[in-house]
């Protein structure tokens, strides 16, 4: 057992934030280190230091017992450290061989042209050795996300990396693809490669890591062996207090049909069918959660229901009234709350204050508007109340929303949408990128809406969230709803299979 890599007492200060505070981690040869922490805990900063993108303020990097300073990413790669980023760095129109060799091409012939044959042979050999099955001649754009990730791993191995850093690798994968990834990681480890696996998902580190190091607010909280740890303990280490991992909710008291979709087809930006002939009914007092891998029509479905995208064909009614062709304002005024998928893009206006953001879809109504002018005192009073009721942590209602944390921004949106009586809640990725405390809070509010008699439609790519919240779980695959399960029948495996397009 030898240490392949060690970070000792790494400290990195950003203006206003101590991102890493004397962080030490150790990576053994051929072992998997799980780096667990919430968003903002300092995981990414640490890995950016390891890969030569940032320079630490103090602390040392020791590779094979030798102290090293990485002045740029090339030096880190040369030391055998390979990064697989959460957002892939691939060229869509290149094929696998070109993508992998890009930047590390070997030249041949008098003109120094790219030696494709040699690169291809090496890639085939690597993918055989590590069980990374990939068609070397396939174009990147034709590959599913899980395979693209393998290409990224191949890229690192091609550069002779034997320390592989995977940053939130399961974010874009189905549960089955995640399992395959774990198989690959184990294979790499047994062949002597060290792996640093960054995640905020507890069960993943428990499953694949040899050691788990937990980061919180820039500090190492502790390191544990998976055999000696349980999810509750890890969650508590990660958040700093006891965490409820399941959502407390009673039996749904289901009423009449609120939202009804019959044969709804929606086109995407490019004019292709994104939602194909979907039937779905949501009743008052129940939560229907739509599971699915990103990009299977969920976004377009939500946009259609909220009036942001036209329905190409089919029927869509809210409490019996047709919503087809209705404007976003009409739908909102009819009692539909919408927590949008892309918070920054749709849900809020950066550069405006918290108060203005809270008024975004009610500014035109009395008492906030006289018709021509805005009633500032009414707006401010309402904003103060929402900020208090929804526990938005902000210096003042006149603070620019851009300066709030993600969790508090989402509370502004949730506060805005839930501070009136609604009959339908549409929440897309309601907790994406939030810390555990905020996630708990948002989940509680969603269940509250259900218990108050609203029909709730949740779209999430986080399987845990879908399973925790849904009274019924619908799975979308390639624009269709391929199955609807009752919560009691919905297991991780069954939903996962449906997400991958398998018939159950």
């Amino acid at each position: 057992m030898s240490l392949r890599l060690e970070l000792r007492e790494i400290t990195k200060q950003f203006p206003g934030v101590l991102a890493n505070d004397r962080v030490s981690i150790q990576v053994e040869r051929g072992k998997v280190l799980g780096l667990l922490g919430e968003n903002g805990a300092g995981k990414s900063t640490l890995m950016n230091i390891l890969s030569g993108i940032y320079k630490p303020d103090s602390g040392t990097i020791i590779v094979d017992g030798e102290q090293r300073v990485f002045r740029d990413p090339a030096e880190a790669i040369e030391a055998g450290i390979g990064m697989v980023h959460q957002h892939f760095m691939l060229v869509p129109v290149f094929d696998v061989v070109e993508s992998v060799a890009l930047g590390a091409e070997t030249a041949t012939g008098p003109l120094g042209t790219f030696d494709r044959a040699a690169a291809r042979a090496k890639i085939v050999e690597l993918s055989k050795r590590y069980g990374l099955s990939v068609d070397p001649d396939a174009k990147i754009e034709s590959l599913p996300v899980g395979v693209r990730q393998r290409v990224e791993i191949l890229k690192a191995l091609y550069r002779k990396s034997d320390v592989l850093v995977l940053d939130e690798p399961s974010a874009v994968l189905t549960p089955q693809e995640t399992e395959e990834l774990f198989g690959i990681i184990r294979g790499l480890a047994s062949a002597g490669t060290s792996v640093i696996f960054i995640t905020h998902k507890l069960h993943e580190v428990l499953e694949v890591a040899d050691t788990i190091t937990v980061l919180r607010r820039g500090k190492v909280v502790g390191s544990v062996k998976p055999k000696e740890a349980d999810p509750e303990q890890l969650a508590e280490m990660m958040v700093g207090r006891e965490v409820q991992l399941t959502v407390d909710r009673g039996q749904a008291k289901v009423g009449s049909v609120t939202l009804s979709l019959k044969g709804v087809t929606v086109l995407n930006q490019a004019g292709e069918v994104a939602v194909a002939n979907v039937d779905l009914q949501i009743r008052a007092g129940e939560i229907v959660a739509i599971a699915g891998v990103q990009g299977n029509g969920q976004t377009e479905l939500v946009e259609a229901v909220t009036g942001l995208r036209p329905v190409d064909s089919g029927e869509m009614t809210l409490n019996g009234e047709s919503l087809v062709g209705a404007s976003p304002r009409k739908i909102s005024d009819a009692g539909v709350a919408h927590i949008p998928e892309d918070r920054s893009r749709d849900g809020m206006v950066k550069g405006m204050t918290v108060a203005e953001n809270l008024m975004l879809n009610s500014y035109h109504r009395k008492p906030f508007s006289s018709g021509v002018t805005l009633n500032r005192s009414a707006i401010e009073a309402a904003a103060e109340k929402i900020v208090k009721d929804f526990d938005v942590r902000t210096p003042s209602i006149h603070t620019d929303i851009a300066s709030l944390s993600g969790g508090n921004q989402q509370k502004v949106i949730v506060g805005r949408e839930f501070s009136r009586t609604v009959s339908l809640v549409v929440a897309a990725q309601p907790t994406r990128g939030l810390d555990v405390g905020s996630i708990e809070y948002i989940h509680k509010r969603l269940v509250e809406q259900r218990d108050a008699g609203a029909a709730v439609l949740i779209v999430s790519t986080e399987l845990d969230e879908v399973l925790a919240l849904g009274d019924r779980i619908a799975v979308m695959f390639e624009g269709q709803i391929v199955g609807v399960l009752d919560a009691k029948d919905a297991t991780r495996e069954r939903v996962g299979l449906l997400m991958g397009g398998a018939a159950v």
Binding site: T306, G307, L308, S327, P328, R329, K330, I331, S332, D333, H338, P340, D342, R345, D346, G347, M348, V349, K350, G351, M352, E356, M359, L360, N361, Y363, H364, S369, G371, V372, T373, L374, R376
Partner: protein, 397 residues
């Protein structure tokens, strides 16, 4: 409301940018002077001294042109003669006069900016405003209506003509998706050539001798009245209307429902759609208002300052206004302040040209630098910080 610190921090970058631009402008004056350049090989120190002297002379003329000769002002105060005092202060009132069109068009560009539109058509909207005002001043003036009605009518006509010229690109953008950047530039040419055509062929407004594209001189009683008691001081009502317009724009943007929609559309169009706002009507309204303000600027320039319409009255104001809107942070108060500074520069540039033979083009160069420095705040901060680096380190220690 923002407090002194907020005001200071919002003024810092524009002020620094103007300062750095003047410094760079000084270098250009120094190194474009042939005599100075000729001295460099034999006597570099002397050349440097000579160069600094030239810059000093130029900027001194600039300041005196803009704000008056301090000696003369002191003497005038000592003499106690109100007429002499007013004459000594004339450069200041001329600077204010020059700032009027800049304020109007700058406000217009700002309204468009706030709604996410880049209105480069201030020039054309200004000319159309001038055309509308000239036509109505001649027609209404000829009809023998009372002066206040004629004057109100001419300014209103200018606003409507300008609004129409702003409405077109807004409408085209919403309906056909055409970029307002392109259409406003094209409409500048169309306005300029259209005005040229009318001034050359339409006998109603064309000057009587009829050879050049210049309008009839406007009758005294249709001209915008002055607001200072001495006739030599040309500052007119347009200045007060410009200040009032700034207040009105501020009220519109920050106090009205429509202004809220417009600002939302400007900051985040997707969120405006999400919130159910009619983003299209916001765009069209913003462009029309923007054009109306520029058109009013044209009306006051023609019927207040120049008193005769021609194709050259705009003189690049539409482009300078973009700089003013940027430097002023698209805030009405900032636009007014910046327009006053730029008005003073333009006015002072006249005397600088007379005394030192440095062309007024240098001022356009300085304006362009100001825009550059505003657009690249880090560059400005670096230029400013370099000479003071040691000092700031000591301060920390």
């Amino acid at each position: 409301m923002k407090g002194l610190r907020g005001v200071l921090s919002s003024v810092r970058l524009p002020a620094l940018s103007i300062l750095v631009a003047l410094l760079v402008g000084g270098l250009v004056i120094m190194f474009s002077d042939l005599e100075v350049l000729a001295m460099i090989p034999n006597n570099p120190i002397g050349a440097l001294g000579e160069g600094i002297g030239r810059v000093g002379a130029a900027y001194s003329a600039l300041l005196r042109g803009a704000f008056g000769n301090p000696e003369r002002i002191v003497e005038a105060i000592a003499s106690g003669d109100p007429v002499e005092l007013a004459r000594a202060a004339r450069p200041i009132t001329e600077s204010l006069l020059k700032s009027i069109p800049l304020m109007f068009v700058g406000l217009g560009v700002s309204v468009a900016f706030r709604s996410g539109e880049f209105n480069i058509g201030g020039e054309g909207q200004f000319l159309m405003g001038g055309l509308g005002a000239t036509t109505f001043a001649i027609v209404l003036g000829g009809a023998g209506l009372p002066a206040p009605i004629v004057i109100f009518g001419t300014v209103l006509a200018g606003a409507i003509f300008g609004a129409a010229w702003g409405f077109i690109p807004g409408f085209l953008k919403v309906r056909a998706g055409s970029s307002e950047v392109i259409t406003t530039i094209m409409l500048n040419y169309i306005a300029s050539l259209f005005v040229f055509f009318l001034l050359s062929n339409w006998t109603l407004i064309q000057r009587e001798d009829g050879t050049q594209p210049i309008s009839k001189a406007l009758a005294d009683y249709v001209v915008i009245p002055g607001i200072l008691p001495i006739p030599e001081l040309r500052l007119h009502l347009g200045f007060l209307v410009a200040l009032a317009a700034a207040v009105a724009v501020s009220w519109f943007l920050f106090r009205t429902t429509r202004g809220f929609e417009l600002r939302t559309a400007g900051l985040n169009l997707a969120a405006a759609r999400y919130a159910g706002m009619g983003a299209s009507s916001s765009i069209v309204a913003a462009m029309a208002i923007s054009g109306a303000l520029a058109g009013m600027g044209g009306a006051f320039e023609v019927t207040g300052t120049i008193k005769q319409f021609s194709t050259v009255v705009s003189g690049g104001v539409g482009f300078t206004a973009i700089a003013i809107a940027l430097v002023g942070g698209t805030r009405p108060s900032g636009v007014v302040a910046t327009a006053l500074v730029f008005g003073a520069l333009r006015n002072g540039g006249g005397l600088m040209g007379l005394e030192t033979s440095i062309p007024i083009d240098l001022l356009f160069f300085i304006q362009a630098l100001v825009i550059m420095f505003i657009a690249a705040p880090n560059l400005t901060a670096r230029i400013i910080r370099l000479p003071f680096r040691r000092k700031s380190k000591e301060a920390v220690a």
